[in-house]
Assembly symmetry: C2
């Protein structure tokens, strides 16, 4: 069965992809379920991935980390790959970027607030 696959030697199975990308096997299945990641299947249904899936998974993680949800990630993944985007895509991208900027401003404010308390605390400790 294995030799019926094309380019088997160059491909990896889900466990190795999980290891290389630093996520769980469950997460990879979830990404596929959400339409964020595709895989070739062997005749018996086993998933096989090419090397570039590693970067793709890492990108998914990064976008999730920035607070985007599955739907948004699915929408913008194509133009992250291709570098091409329609006008509406560009708007979406800009919206998300602005959201991230706003989030960073909030975080900066909170950090400054913490810093103030820390400095006060050090000053009080004399």
């Amino acid at each position: 069965m294995g030799d019926m696959m094309v380019r088997t030697g160059e491909m990896m199975r889900i466990g190795e992809l999980a290891g290389q990308a630093g996520v769980s096997v469950r997460a990879l299945r979830y990404y596929e379920e959400q339409g964020l990641l595709t895989s070739e299947r062997s005749a018996s249904g086993q998933r096989y991935y090419t090397e570039d899936a590693v970067d793709r998974v890492r990108l998914i993680q990064v976008l999730y980390g920035a607070g985007l949800n599955s739907n948004t990630v699915r929408d913008i993944m194509p133009c992250m790959d291709s570098g091409m985007a329609s006008t509406s895509m560009l708007e979406l991208l800009a919206t998300e970027r602005d959201r991230i900027d706003e989030r960073m401003r909030e975080l900066a404010e909170t950090r400054d607030r913490l810093t103030t308390v820390i400095e006060q605390g050090h000053a009080t400790r004399d």
Copy 2:
């Protein structure tokens, strides 16, 4: 019963606090449950708050927004109020501040990545 309360005139009930602080009534009860917010109770069990509860609730929101959980917020609230902190508190504060800094770095990276794609998209559209 009402005239058994002290300083009733200066205090507000939960609905008004929710309105002034911009959160839900349910959220305020949850904060109390988590030990983040206290209230005086009337003989019949109604919650009453002073004006400064508004700022306290907003601070809770800000800290939640920065990704801190209830336990951490409960731990650092005292020194946010008093400006005084023990050595271990200062460490906790610094840890959280560093976490926020790290988070901001991640966000900046993602934002730059989105910006690159946006600029590529605009360039392609000629």
